[in-house]
Subunit: 134 residues, 2 copies
DNA sequence: ACTTAAAATGTTATATTATAACATTACATT
DNA sequence: AATGTAATGTTATAATATAACATTTTAAGT
């Protein structure tokens, strides 16, 4: 059975909480420093919680920034594939959904006789807010 | 004026050479160990060469693997955006080109009122060779 | 309830990836 | 030759992530 957020362990909940209350992606050591009062003392405890949360799809990693973000989509199937819009000005991140991405990438891969399994897409630019300001 | 490969410096040439002769992406410290006989002694020398090569578009970074690959496209405009097919079995990497990716991502971004600047796409799966073997 | 296997934890140490700081050298353009 | 920019060399250190191992918690079956 899939693991729901209800039966997360203490450490996992602690890490997920801080990611969910953050408006931007957080780095592992930022998470660590922020929750040391809650009994988490070592990097490994953070990384282990992150690994689990990523595995069940509640958290995604932004590879180009070594940072982590909570998934806001209820039934997000991004356990494997992820697609983000990343603002270069304010570092905010929006997750793209929709299977059109999946089918588009499958096709691109097929053209090269490549068997698509999953993907990671990071689009950089300016978010709506920052577009207006500049 | 754009910097062509002819006027690369010694360190830059050394690093580019090893990347071009590799069949897979290489990690920075792998590069370092492989070229210590050529006078490069410190990580920083490798990273500086990589930075320059990336800047001029001769090398791209595979973010999810912290590794670097030489660009095989003559007039590659991927100084900013990159798109890869990455084989999970043999770690080989193929770079995708074509502006259809650009226009597709622009559209995806626009749907979210996001001003597209560049992207990084990593598609994971099985390359043609490994598909046949499995 | 007891057993047991799997998962999670706590802890210390260490590996891996990348940059800071600063003095020096090469080199193209005046 | 003078000058400014880029590149280099070197040492130290920052930032990111995992190894190893002993212990505890949890969940599932009997």
């Amino acid at each position: 059975m899939a693991i729901a957020s209800e039966n997360l362990t203490k450490n996992q909940k602690t890490v997920l909480d801080i990611l969910e209350s953050a408006s931007e992606p957080l780095k592992a050591y930022t998470i660590l420093f922020d929750i040391q009062k809650k009994g988490i003392k070592s990097p490994l405890q953070v990384y282990r919680a992150l690994d689990k949360l990523i595995e069940i799809g509640k958290v995604h990693k932004i590879e180009s920034r070594n940072s982590y973000v909570a998934c806001k989509h209820e039934g997000c199937n991004a356990k494997t594939s992820t697609s983000f819009l990343i603002c270069e000005n304010c570092d905010s991140v929006t997750e793209l959904t929709g299977n059109n991405l999946f089918s588009y990438f499958s096709k691109q891969a097929e053209k090269n006789n490549f068997n698509y399994k999953k993907h990671n897409l990071e689009i950089f630019g300016l978010c709506e807010n920052c577009k207006l300001k500049n």
